[in-house]
């Protein structure tokens, strides 16, 4: 019991939780923006991979770290645009298109990586983002190492949550996005473009998803590996439901998952000798399923989610 307390009271546990949560924060906010506008984006897993590869490669080619972030966002926006065109004006199945985008984006990323680097045995490394040293705050006891020794991308993720919440709930644009995910004909009858709003939301949301991928290669690690996204995108889809499509709750969900994950790693070293490691690896996923079961039944789905809109038809 005291072992568990030791884990929870260590500053590096909380630092790890926030670090693990960062890509999920980008991903869940991105998915939330798409779904608030009425479009489920199952391309997320592939868009993570594309963002991870594109950001890393831009830096490797000498673009600079923030240049890499921009390239990752553009790559995400590109795949988002494909998904948006297929599902919004053409009204195709959002499930099928999303899975297609995931397969396409993943394979294309691997293909480009392999073509650019045909014969490397160990993945080349880049100079990744370093933890920021914030005067005063980083030196606070416990809180400093736990919260303020993160890289710039983690702080960007937190800023994205705040900006998204502000836009959704305080601006006319956010009002229109929330409306188009509930009843597109309400939006059209008020003279706004349903397609414009939905395509814009999907592209913007996908760009955010790609930043989640970029965090992996440019902050968490400093290289690109095959399979490194490892289901993080799918977790984000589940977290949006858990969050009831609210940015604040989405942040909470991502942090909770990060904490589970950080906890299981530490628990493994404590009691790993007599329980197989795979049991611990399962834990965060099992707990997110349990959390979903508890929360999702009451979830307030955007009413027009998955429903294509065709003008002049009702």
């Amino acid at each position: 019991m005291s072992d568990i307390l030791d884990i929870l009271l260590a500053a590096n546990f909380w630092a790890a939780a926030l670090r693990i949560a960062t890509p999920l924060i980008f991903g869940v906010i991105g998915a939330l923006v798409c779904e608030r506008a009425g479009v489920l984006n199952l391309g997320i897993e592939g868009i993570f991979t594309a963002g991870a590869m594109a950001g890393w490669m831009a830096v490797w080619l000498g673009a600079g770290l923030w240049g890499g972030v921009l390239v990752a966002a553009l790559a995400g926006g590109f795949f988002g645009l494909i998904h948006a065109i297929l599902t919004v004006p053409l009204g195709l199945s959002q499930h099928v298109s999303g899975i297609g985008v995931t397969l396409f984006a993943t394979s294309l990323s691997y293909f480009i990586y392999r073509t650019a680097l045909p014969d490397v045995s160990s993945p080349p490394r880049i100079e990744a983002f370093k933890p920021l040293d914030i005067p005063v705050l980083s030196d606070l006891p416990f809180i400093g190492p736990a919260l303020f020794q993160q890289t710039a991308l983690t702080f960007l993720a937190l800023a994205v949550v705040a900006v998204t919440a502000f836009v959704l709930y305080r601006t006319p644009l956010g009002l229109a996005i929330r409306a188009v995910g509930d009843n597109p004909s309400a939006v059209e009858s008020q003279g706004l473009s349903v397609y414009g709003l939905r395509i814009g939301a999907v592209v913007a949301g996908s760009a955010l998803m790609a930043l989640g991928g970029a965090f992996l290669t440019m902050s968490a690690f400093d290289a690109f590996f095959f399979g490194m996204v490892n289901g993080r995108g799918w977790i984000c889809i589940a977290l949006t439901v858990f969050a009831s499509w609210r940015p604040g709750k989405a942040l909470l969900g991502a942090l909770l998952f990060g904490a589970f994950d950080a906890f299981q790693v530490r628990l493994q070293t404590e009691v790993g000798s007599f329980i197989p490691g795979q049991v611990f690896l399962m834990m965060p996923y099992l707990l997110s399923i349990a959390a979903l079961v508890l929360v999702a039944r009451k979830a307030d789905y955007p009413r027009a989610l998955l429903v294509p809109y065709f003008r002049g038809q009702r």
Binding site: R170, P172, D182, N183, S185, V187, S189, Q190, R303
Partner: protein
């Protein structure tokens, strides 16, 4: 026509509008003027092209030929850019659709503000909007809680939000598509009083309807559409119901009336029937249906009549209470059990529950008796017999279709209802449960439904008629009971009731409260 409208400037001019959908001409060379301060009723049957015309006006559709011109603030007519709701809104056209265009997850205020502020702006001037809306509400009498989520508002309140949306944008022309379809009689009266007030403030109003009474009561001028063409355009003063009905249908419509008849013994008896929870649940409902009578159930939809129909057709079992037919217990009977016992059901949503769309007319006609020997032998369908009986039914019930093999979904609402009637009434049922049987049907098809129900009554069947249309109920029913929030009043003879009383009870007021 009131003298104030005479000589008032034209605010809207539709000129020679033609719109085709494939082979169908929905609007054929229709021209229409609307004056300042005028209420114009656009009358026509389903499929006459009323809604298409208004959707062209609002930019949801683009007309194949013809133009729409709207008066600017200075009064000169200017042609409207086709196919753009945005342009229509800016030109001062407000539209209240039949199916409300409100986002349920937003508040009333948010729905009204939607699209009125530039999307690039970083803030929303809600205080100012609130104040302006406060003035509008006071002037028009359309009060609504601006902070309430749309999902928590009643249908009447939602409609007020829709009208406020248009007024907030300074509409000079207001179009309402079948505005009373979902309202109680009292709510409709309030609506028309509001519209008159808005018109006297200078708003030009078009409302679409197929209800003759309200058109006569509430409009200054009436335009009638039939088969996509405008067949009449005249001041309301001097019109009468019979003449309008003929203009609408193109021929005179015989109205079936009920002849006095002595009812027989009790057939269907519900005693203290209670079902689950929610607004639609039934609370200790008692009902007795006699042989040879039509028992009307009046009520605003969503007050439990759907559940009542489900209980009687065996789709939902009551928690407590009993259902019996001819003294035989049927409380826990399945849908099949109810059909076999002689209860025929005309479902409320005929497209969803009345037919299987992709299946043929013949299959839909046979579907309820598919296990009977006339339709199957050793588990194999008897196609010839089914086709032969379908042919008979198509002639007998005048089902307009390409033949028994045509998919049922291709038929119009009226003809789908005829399939349902043929299927349910052909077996001479003991009880007929008719839920909203004429909803959405035009005058001709409605007359057909009424005739069939009266025929069932005269051969001794008991008919339960669930309807929101008071005219229909009062004309056909021997007795009427009112359902409100799952409570069913005791049935009274129609002669002792009037529209006002029924309307009050539908809204949940008892006489003592009214007095």
């Amino acid at each position: 026509m009131t003298s104030t409208v005479d000589g008032a400037p034209v605010v809207l001019k539709l000129e020679r509008i033609t719109k085709r959908f494939g082979a169908l001409t929905a609007n054929d060379d229709v021209s229409l003027d609307l004056h300042r301060g005028e209420i114009l009723a656009l009358l026509g049957e389903n499929g006459a092209g009323k809604t298409t015309l208004m959707n062209i006006l609002f930019g949801h559709y683009v007309a194949d030929e013809g133009t729409v011109a709207v008066a600017g603030t200075n009064g000169t007519l200017k042609e409207l850019e086709p196919g753009s709701p945005h342009a229509a809104l800016n030109a001062g056209i407000g539209m209240v659709h039949q199916h409300f265009t409100l986002a349920e997850n937003l508040t009333a205020l948010e729905n009204i503000l939607l699209g009125t502020e530039p999307l690039s702006s970083f803030s929303s001037a809600r205080g100012k909007a609130r104040k302006h809306l406060g003035d509008l509400m006071q002037r028009s009498g359309l009060t609504v809680d601006l902070n309430a989520r749309i999902s928590s508002l009643s249908v009447g309140e939602k409609q007020r939000v829709e009208i406020l949306k248009a007024l907030y944008r300074d509409a000079r022309v207001l179009v309402l598509d079948e505005p009373t379809a979902v309202l109680t009689p009292q709510e409709s009266d309030t609506l028309f009083a509001t519209l008159k007030k808005l018109a006297s403030d200078g708003l030009g109003i078009i409302f679409i309807s197929h209800k003759l009474d309200e058109v006569l009561a509430a409009s200054d001028r009436i335009g009638v559409l039939r088969g996509g063409r405008k067949v009449a355009d005249q001041p309301t003063a001097g019109c009468d119901k019979r003449q309008l009905a003929e203009l609408m249908v193109g021929k005179s419509v015989p109205e079936s009336t009920r002849t006095p008849q002595q009812p027989g013994a009790a057939l269907l008896v519900l005693s203290q029937v209670t079902t689950g929870t929610g607004r639609d649940a039934l609370h200790a409902v008692d009902l007795e249906l006699l042989s040879g009578e039509i028992l009307g159930i009046a009520g605003v939809s969503g007050n439990g009549q759907g559940t009542l129909a489900k209980v009687i057709s065996g789709l939902e079992a009551p928690i407590s209470g009993t259902v019996s037919l001819n003294g035989k217990q049927l409380t826990r009977s399945s849908a099949r059990g109810m059909i076999d016992a002689g209860i025929a059901r005309i479902p409320e949503d005929r497209h969803r529950d009345g037919i299987v769309g992709p299946m043929s007319v013949a299959e839909n006609l046979a579907i309820e008796t598919i296990r009977k020997p006339e339709n199957q032998r050793f588990g194999f369908l008897r196609f010839d017999a089914i086709a032969a009986r379908a042919k008979e039914a198509i002639t007998a019930y005048d089902i307009r279709c390409q033949g028994g093999n045509a998919p049922a979904r291709l038929l119009s609402g009226g003809n789908i209802q005829k399939i349902v009637l043929a299927r349910t009434l052909d077996s001479d049922p003991i009880v007929v449960l008719a839920a909203q049987p004429s909803r959405g049907l035009d005058v001709g098809a409605t007359a057909d439904v009424h005739r069939r129900l009266l025929e069932a009554r005269s051969r001794g069947a008991g008919v339960i008629l669930i309807s929101e249309d008071l005219d229909e109920l009062m004309r056909l029913s021997d007795r009427i009971a009112v359902i409100h929030r799952g409570h069913l009043s005791s049935a009274e003879r129609t002669e002792n009731l009037d529209r006002g009383t029924l309307g009050m009870r539908m809204a949940g007021h008892s006489e003592e409260q009214a007095a």
